[in-house]
C-alpha cells in the first residue's frame, strides 16, 4: 500500500439534493414482466423510522451475471438491466422501495454457488460510515441452506437477511438495533 485510504464521513441529512434521481430506485424497467419490487422500512434503536436514510442495492441478473462493464463477462448481461438501485427521498418517511430482477445464483468461494442475493449499502444521518448487508429470499430455502455467506452467520440471526414474499414483491425491513437487529457485514 502506497497511499492511505480516504476516511468515511456521514452522508448527512441533505443528501437528497445530490444523490437520488427519478429512475434511481429502478434497476430495471418496472414494466418488465420479470421485475420484482422490494419494499421495507429502516428502523432505529427506539423502533422509530429513519426518514433520512438512503439505500443502494447491487444484484446479478436472473442468469447470475453482474452488469459490470470492466470485467467478469464483458458487456451487460441483460438489456435495460442496471443491476443497481438507489432509493432515498427529500422528505422521506423511513420506507424504501426498489425494483429489480430476482438474481440468479452466482459463484462464491471455491466455485460453490451462492444463493440468490442482493448486496446492500445503507447510509443515513447519524451513520458515520455505510452499513453493508445482504438481501436473501425466504422462498429459496434450499439455496439458502447451502449459501457460504449465510453459513458464516449465527443461525438464529439469519432470518434478518431474508426478504419475505409479500403483496406484489418482497418485504425487507432493516433494524439498526434491538432484539431483531439486522446482520451487518464486514467485507
Amino acid at each position: 500500500m502506497i497511499f492511505p485510504a480516504t476516511p468515511s464521513q456521514t452522508v448527512g441529512p441533505y443528501f437528497a439534493i445530490g444523490l437520488p434521481w427519478p429512475q434511481g430506485p429502478n434497476a430495471v424497467d418496472p414494466a418488465d414482466p420479470r421485475a420484482i419490487r422490494i419494499s421495507g422500512s429502516v428502523l432505529d434503536g427506539q423502533g422509530e423510522l429513519v426518514p433520512d436514510h438512503m439505500i443502494e442495492v447491487w444484484g446479478a441478473s436472473p442468469d447470475g451475471r453482474y452488469p459490470d462493464v470492466h470485467a467478469f463477462g464483458g458487456a451487460g448481461p441483460a438489456r435495460g438491466f442496471r443491476g443497481f438501485a438507489r432509493c432515498g427521498h427529500e422528505g422521506g418517511d423511513g420506507t424504501f422501495e426498489i425494483v429489480t430482477l430476482k438474481p440468479g445464483p452466482v459463484p462464491g468461494p471455491g466455485g460453490a454457488a451462492q444463493a440468490p442475493h442482493l448486496a446492500v449499502s445503507l447510509f443515513a444521518r447519524g451513520m458515520l460510515h455505510r452499513l453493508v448487508t445482504r438481501i436473501y429470499f425466504a422462498d429459496e430455502p434450499e439455496a439458502n441452506a447451502l449459501d457460504p455467506i449465510l453459513a458464516r452467520i449465527p443461525p438464529e440471526r439469519r432470518a434478518t437477511l431474508l426478504a419475505q414474499p409479500a403483496d406484489a414483491g418482497y418485504r425487507f425491513d432493516i433494524r439498526l438495533q434491538g432484539p431483531d437487529e439486522t446482520v451487518f457485514l464486514d467485507i
Binding site: T6, F84, V106
Partner: protein, 252 residues
C-alpha cells in the same frame, strides 16, 4: 499428486487490470459507528459486531453510472446551472480518484452536494435562517478522466449551525460520493478547507480518530491552477481500497 481435484470452472475471465479482491477496510482510518460526541449515532449504530465475510463476485463488481447520471458539462459546473451567478468565492475543485496503490480509477462517477455561501442547503428540512441563493442548487456530477481526475466549478460553501450541542457549527464542507469500480470500494465522505475555526468542536470531523487520516479530508489550495481574476483552484485527492492479496476464488 494423483488425486488432483478438477478446478471449478471459471465463469468469467477478469481483465488483467481488474482486481479480483480488495484489501479489507482499515478500521483505524474510518470513524466508529458509535460516537458519543455525535448524538445521532446513539440509536443508529449496530450493537452486534459486524460479521466478517469473504469477498465474492458480488463485492468485487459494481455499477458504472456515469452515462446515466452525467448529461453534460453543466453537471460539473455548479455556478452555471441558473440564469445568474451564485454568490460566493468561485472555486475550481479538482483531484484524483485512485486506489491505495496509486492507480487511477478511470470513468468513475463522482457526485457532490453542498450548502450555498451562506451555509444553507436547498433542502426542505434545512431550517437555518440564512438565505437560499436562487442561482445555486448545490449538486454536481462528473466522471473521472483517463488519469482518474475529476473537475468541478463551484462556490465555497459556508459553515452553518446545527443542533448537536450548544453553539455547534459544522465546518464548511462539500459532500462527496464515490462508486469506484466495485461494491467494495463505495465511499461517501466530506471535504473540508484548511484552518477552519470549527474543526476543534466538530464531532463529525473528529469522529476520525487518527489525525493524519482527518487531515486527508482537507483540500489544499493550488496556486498554479488558480485563474487570475476568476477562480481559486483547490485540490482534493480521494483514495479508495486497492487490490487485495488473493483472488476472490481463493479467499477462503
Amino acid at each position: 499428486m494423483s488425486d488432483v481435484q478438477e478446478a471449478p470452472p471459471r465463469l468469467w475471465t477478469p481483465n488483467d487490470d481488474t482486481p479480483t479482491s480488495y484489501t479489507r477496510e482499515d478500521r483505524a482510518v474510518h470513524p466508529p459507528m458509535d460516537d458519543p460526541g455525535y448524538k445521532s449515532t446513539q440509536y443508529r449504530h449496530p450493537k452486534q459486531p459486524l460479521v466478517y465475510v469473504p469477498q465474492t463476485l458480488t463485492e468485487v463488481t459494481g455499477p458504472q453510472l456515469g452515462a446515466e447520471r452525467v448529461h453534460g458539462p453543466l453537471d460539473a459546473d455548479l455556478t452555471r446551472q441558473h440564469e445568474g451567478m451564485p454568490v460566493g468565492q468561485r472555486l475550481l475543485l479538482g483531484g484524483r480518484v485512485m486506489d491505495t496503490e496509486g492507480k487511477p480509477l478511470r470513468g468513475t462517477l463522482v457526485e457532490i452536494w453542498q450548502a450555498n455561501a451562506a451555509g444553507r442547503y436547498r433542502h426542505r428540512w434545512d431550517r437555518w435562517e440564512a438565505p437560499l441563493d436562487p442561482n445555486f442548487s448545490g449538486a454536481g456530477r462528473c466522471v473521472t478522466d483517463d488519469d482518474g481526475r475529476f473537475a468541478f466549478t463551484t462556490i465555497r460553501p459556508g459553515p452553518y449551525p446545527w443542533g448537536n450541542h450548544h453553539n455547534a457549527w459544522r465546518p464548511a464542507h462539500i459532500h462527496f460520493s464515490l462508486l469506484g469500480r466495485a461494491f467494495a470500494q463505495r465511499l461517501v465522505t466530506q471535504m473540508y478547507f484548511p484552518d477552519d475555526p470549527f474543526f476543534d468542536y466538530d464531532p463529525i470531523y473528529n469522529s476520525i480518530r487518527d489525525e493524519q487520516a482527518r487531515r486527508r479530508l482537507i483540500a489544499r489550495f493550488d496556486i498554479h491552477g488558480t485563474v487570475p481574476n476568476w477562480a481559486q483552484a483547490w485540490e482534493f485527492d480521494i483514495v479508495l481500497r486497492g487490490p487485495g492479496a488473493t483472488p476472490f476464488e481463493e479467499a477462503w
